[in-house]
């Protein structure tokens, strides 16, 4: 019987009422008396020297309040990078300065040069056109390998080259891996591109800076996934505003997908400028600005080699990846191709020897950082593609080859430094074979062929790591922040509860799922509980939402705080019931004395806490409010198996997704409906990457896909009805809920099965095509069919 409330119930998403009826409060809905508007004049060349900026004519234009340039930010901090990677030789990465407004040079199309603050946005734009810019265009570096060649133009003149770092992992294993590959019975090699993506949340980025001169307080309203992280980075490193004078609010946020994790120049600008002019300053990105200023995702160029012995056991994996950093280091950029990618290269398999090399490169392009999955999709894609290619080369069934190499004993320490706590990869594969009806594939292929179409089946597995932690370990790996989270459970006198959480919901459904946990623990109605998030002045210092961490990390903090509430409430109840605390039981919102019919209700206890007339004041304090900080002891490791069936039109090369099935293991599931929705969305984005999305630059660093005219987003008609299942559950062993996280799995697990399916379809039509880079667009498929 499905439950109708508490953990495991598909409670309806209560936040959707406001989202779907137009009553959400997004950052752009915030308008403050006396507000001004800023327009950023951005570079239209990829690389150039700023000889002169003359703002005198512009400053005299109607409505202009003030014009800022890089000169106004001398002495102000650089936009910080939150992760320092150490290279193969033990040296720290090269870390360039990242000014709020360009100083001396522009380094990508979209780099902000000047900011015009005016009474209206149109006036600000008018004035921006009157700024007299003298920029000398310099040669741009776009291609990563070219950027590393001798004599290449340098993106940053003060760095020794365009190499950010050359990372080897695990460096000590390199010799053994080389040796294993040399001695292997078979080696499959694949070179591939993990295409650059633009996240494109429905809501573009917005920032409103406000300053209260009376108490010297600054407030930033911003489209962020983690307001406390922004407060720390911007306050401490850029603007030097102490935390108690800086409030950061991320109200309703219309999608993030990673790109709203980072601290951006526009946020610092609005906060800074509001103090300078003593008026609120608002910036709302246009979609065009989003394309050239939101951190992009992926953009890896990889060579992977998989070695197998004569019995088809995986013996070694070696990879070499070039990872594009763009022109500056975005907040968590260096960690994505390293600690979020290299550590996942074991996948679901017991490959004993692995070596990962990553060269991170500066180019004259928009900075690249975490995008849904962040590093794990790149790891999964190359591994699951090379396994498929190996199966084809060896003439064995790709599913059987995977099964043969599955890790089956847990905990399992991988050769890439992580320990998987639980999992059951054969079980998810069994479930996939069932729900995807793989036994019916041959008949479906025949039906497609009868229509003149080629049909292909692609299967893959994935493993991911969520809830990045523990803090002391990630600190050793270069993180410049902690990765715990926090929750305060505030019980009100009448028994209703506000839970203040460090996680931030921007589509995930926390406002529904989090109360389900507390309701379950206390045995009370979910509707008595509300979640408060997104405002640094209301919530404890938490780290926000990304990396599928919210329920695993912040949810665990909430459980710990609720346990403290229960302990204290039991003390109060024992006093009211004149019984021993050890005999008090809490069930269905009633405290009772074991073995008796004596009980008090939840509401009686909470009222006693705040009206402590009959209360053990000598033993405990009044009130019922507890905070917990939770720092996990390990990552969680969701895993799964995905299957995609495609049809290819052999005349045009057009690929359509006919079926898609996903069998995931997320450990325990709080709200199955929300989890299903997260998987649907993730698969949609994965299909988008595999078939459609492509952020492209020309050789001069001009963004070719700068609008929806050329950047193809997936639409409803591009995806099939999905079959998803998350009944295989191996609960996480080290967090109190046994949860693993589900937000990114779909985007991680789906691209390889799509491409595997396309290759399978083409092979079935007699085309000797072994790989096509994403996006697998009609023209690329056609070219592959006709050149192979």
């Amino acid at each position: 019987m499905p439950k109708d409330s508490g953990i495991g119930a598909s409670s309806k998403r209560r936040e959707d009422v406001r989202f779907l009826t137009g009553t959400g409060q997004y950052t752009d809905d915030i308008n403050i008396h006396g507000q001004t508007y800023v327009y950023f004049l951005r570079s239209d060349v990829a690389h150039g020297k700023i000889n002169n900026i003359d703002t005198s004519a512009a400053a005299a234009m109607p409505g202009v309040v003030r014009i800022f340039t890089g000169a106004d930010f001398e002495g102000i901090g650089s936009i910080p990078c939150g992760w320092q990677v150490t290279d193969r030789h033990g040296e720290p990465m090269q870390e360039p300065a990242h000014p709020v407004l360009a100083q001396g040079k522009v380094r990508h199309v979209g780099d902000p040069i000047a900011a015009v603050v005016a009474e209206s946005l149109e006036q600000a734009r008018d004035a921006a056109e009157a700024i007299d810019l003298d920029i000398e265009e310099l040669p741009a570096v776009v291609d990563m390998k070219a950027a590393l060649s001798d004599g290449a133009t340098k993106v940053h003149d003060d760095l020794s080259s365009n190499l950010c770092y050359d990372w080897g992992f695990v460096e000590e294993n390199k010799g053994a891996v080389d040796e294993a590959i040399k001695n292997a019975a078979h080696v499959t090699t694949l070179e591939l591109v993990n295409n650059r993506l633009v996240a494109n949340p429905m809501e573009p980025r917005v920032a409103v800076g406000d300053y209260n001169r009376a108490n010297d307080e600054s407030t930033l309203f911003t489209t962020s996934q983690n307001p406390h992280v922004i407060r720390l980075l911007m306050g401490a490193f850029v603007l030097g505003i102490p935390e108690h004078k800086l409030r950061v609010v991320a109200p309703d946020v219309g999608g993030g997908f990673g790109t709203k994790i980072f601290h951006y120049a526009e946020e610092a600008f609005c906060t800074f400028a509001a103090r300078q002019i003593n008026r609120p300053v608002k910036w709302t990105a246009s979609r065009s600005e989003a394309f050239m200023s939101d951190a992009h995702g992926r953009d890896h160029v990889t060579k992977i080699e998989l070695a197998l012995d004569a019995d088809n056991n995986f013996t070694a994996v070696r990879t070499e990846t070039y990872a594009n950093m763009g022109a500056y280091l975005s907040t968590f950029a260096p960690s994505v191709p390293t600690w979020l990618h290299g550590t996942l290269m074991a996948g679901n398999y017991k490959t004993p020897l692995i070596y990962v090399n990553v060269k991170a490169v500066f180019t004259n392009t928009v900075p690249v950082d975490a995008y849904r999955g962040a590093g794990r999709p790149e790891a999964t894609y190359q591994l699951e593609r090379v396994i498929d290619k190996a199966a084809r080369e060896l003439g064995v069934d790709p599913i059987a080859l995977r099964r043969q190499n599955f890790i089956t004993e847990f905990p399992y320490a991988t050769p890439v430094a992580v320990e998987y706590d639980t999992g059951n990869y054969p079980a998810t594969m069994d479930k996939l074979e069932e729900i995807a009806d793989l036994s019916g594939f041959d008949a479906r292929r025949k039906a497609s062929e009868a229509k003149g179409k080629l049909r292909g089946l692609g299967v893959n597995c994935y493993i991911e790591a969520c809830g990045i932690a523990p803090s002391n370990l990630v600190g050793q790996l270069g993180a410049r922040a902690g990765l715990y989270d926090a929750a305060t459970v505030r019980v009100n006198a009448t028994g209703t509860i506000s839970v203040m959480v460090g996680a931030h919901s921007h589509g995930q459904g926390h406002e529904t799922a989090f109360p389900q946990v507390v309701a379950e623990m206390l045995g009370i109605d979910e509707n008595m509980i509300d979640i408060v998030h997104g405002d640094s002045s209301k919530i404890p210092f938490g780290m926000g939402t990304y990396g599928s961490r919210s329920i695993a990390v912040c949810g665990s903090a909430m459980v710990r705080a609720t346990e403290k509430i229960i302990n204290k409430a039991k003390k109060i109840a024992s006093h009211l019931l004149e019984a021993s605390e050890a005999d008090i039981e809490l069930k269905d919102g009633q405290f009772s004395v074991a073995g008796t019919d004596k009980s008090v209700a939840w509401g009686d206890v909470t009222l006693a806490a705040y009206v402590p007339h009959n209360y053990p004041l000598e033993d405990i304090e009044p009130g019922l409010e507890e905070t917990a900080f939770y720092d996990p002891s390990n990552f969680t490791y969701p895993s799964g198996a995905y299957a995609c069936e495609v049809e290819v039109d052999p005349e045009t090369g057009k690929v359509t997704i006919e079926r898609f099935a996903a069998a995931d293991d997320f450990g325990n599931v709080i709200n199955p409906m929300i989890v299903t929705g997260q998987v649907h969305g993730g698969i949609g984005q994965g299909i988008g990457q595999a078939l459609l999305e492509n952020c492209a630059y020309d050789e001069n660093g001009q963004l070719l896909s700068a609008s929806y005219m050329d950047y193809a987003m997936p639409r409803a008609s591009d995806v099939p009805f999905y079959t998803v299942d998350h009944s295989c559950q191996t609960p996480c062993t080290h967090n109190p809920l046994g949860v693993k996280g589900c937000g990114e799995a779909g985007a991680i697990g789906s691209p390889p099965s799509v491409v595997n399916a396309v290759v399978d379809a083409l092979q079935s039509g007699g085309h000797n095509v072994t790989h096509i880079d994403m996006p697998v667009s009609p023209s690329r498929v056609w070219a592959a069919m006709n050149n192979a």
Partner: protein, 261 residues
């Protein structure tokens, strides 16, 4: 957007007069013009909306049996009302999305002559007549390359007359991002021969594939196209596909259009 004056006349004569102002521009559905203005890439001094002119609205049947469409008629109206010419109605029903179809107009589309737009292929394949406030222009003379037409400054398309073919079909292969035609082929079979017009593919904008017309006029079957090929030379080569790919699609889509007739 820069500031501009706005007029909404109710007759063609008033519209022509209003457009006499320097840098004045006609406004159809605004689906192309308004985004351009918002991006500050166009700065007309005055916008003259044609949507209030009733004589430029709607679909009717001409004395010679042709389908006559008012220059300010929306794609949605054509889709719903041009039942005498089903291939044309089908083309209109697949332009953009409902919002675009409810605003965008045939006059705006033909005046703009986007190399990836759908209507130019129908007009050219049908040998349509573009009627303006000043004259009648044969489709063969009207299209003069990407975004270029025979229209003079201030000239308004008031009506488009389509002779109704015996059979016709439009095949559109969508560009994955914009969903305009990456290649679109309109085939129309008349008593005196077959016309084939191709949009989306060429750097010169919409064009007639005369070899295919000759072959199909002799034998109206997909088979008749077998020996023909289109060169990738002069075809659009961009992020979404090479010139060779577009040339290949021209033939595939022409065959499909003939087969669907």
């Amino acid at each position: 957007m820069y500031n501009f004056d706005f007029e909404k006349p109710s007759t063609i004569a008033d519209a022509v007069a209003a457009l006499a102002t320097e840098d004045a521009q006609a406004l159809g559905g605004g689906q192309t013009l308004l985004p351009t203005m918002k991006q500050r890439l166009a700065s007309p001094s005055k916008i003259v909306s044609l949507s209030g002119i009733s004589e430029m609205q709607g679909v009717c049947k001409g004395d010679d049996g042709s389908v006559c469409i008012g220059g300010a008629t929306t794609h949605a109206t054509v889709a719903a009302s041009a039942s005498e010419y089903p291939a044309l109605a089908a083309l209109a029903s697949n332009i953009g999305d409902p919002a675009v179809r409810n605003r965008g107009t045939i006059g705006g589309s033909l005046a703009n002559n986007d190399p990836a737009a759908c209507y130019p292929s129908a007009a050219l394949a049908s040998g349509a007549t573009i009627v303006t406030n000043a004259r009648q222009i044969a489709a063969d003379d009207y299209f003069q390359g990407m975004f270029t037409t025979a229209l003079n400054e201030g000239e308004i398309i008031t009506e488009v007359r389509f002779p109704v073919p015996e059979a016709a079909n439009y095949q559109k292969f969508e560009q994955p991002a914009s969903r305009f035609a990456m290649v679109g082929v309109f085939v129309a079979k008349y008593a005196d021969g077959v016309r084939v017009a191709v949009t989306g593919a060429s750097e010169e904008g919409v064009f007639r594939w005369t070899e295919a017309e000759a072959a199909l006029s002799a034998d109206f079957s997909a088979h008749a196209l077998e020996g023909l090929s289109v060169s990738g030379e002069g075809m659009i080569n961009d992020l979404h596909g090479s010139g060779e790919y577009r040339a290949h699609l021209v033939k595939v889509l022409t065959k499909r259009a003939v087969a669907a007739c």
